[in-house]
Symmetry: C2
Subunit: 81 residues, 2 copies
């Protein structure tokens, strides 16, 4: 089974990377792009276990290592792939 | 409307950041984690437009700027949020 982790900068936190990408898109001529946020997408291949248990474990990993919970939020999805 | 972009290292490409996270998780005592891949999760706030058109435009942005298509793959989702 697999865990998909989506980590994004919190809404009220400055995201310089997102700002840079937004302005580069404008320079390339793309219009109508309002706000860009750049986060991380982490996938983990896990050994088979109950979904609830896997989710709790990966959320724990996020709090301890994968995300910086002061400035980032995370969401965990477990799939059976 | 919003575009969600998932960018991941290609399967056969070395992902040093993923390896580092995998080994840090092991050091923290997490077991049963086989493979970790670290990619990027980019969200773009777009002006209202037909979904097909938005998707094509964002895929174009991925090829030109957001992803390095030599070593990364990307997937674009459009939501009405």
């Amino acid at each position: 089974m697999k865990a998909l982790v989506y980590i994004t900068p919190k809404a009220d936190i400055l995201d310089p990377q997102g700002k840079a990408v937004g302005s580069a898109l404008q320079d390339l001529g793309y219009e109508g792009v309002d706000e860009v946020k750049v986060g991380r997408y982490v996938t983990l291949q896990l050994k088979s276990q109950p979904v609830d248990q896997a989710k709790a474990q990966v959320e724990d990993m996020c709090r301890k290592l994968l995300a910086n919970i002061n400035v980032e939020t995370f969401r965990v999805e477990i799939t059976e792939d």
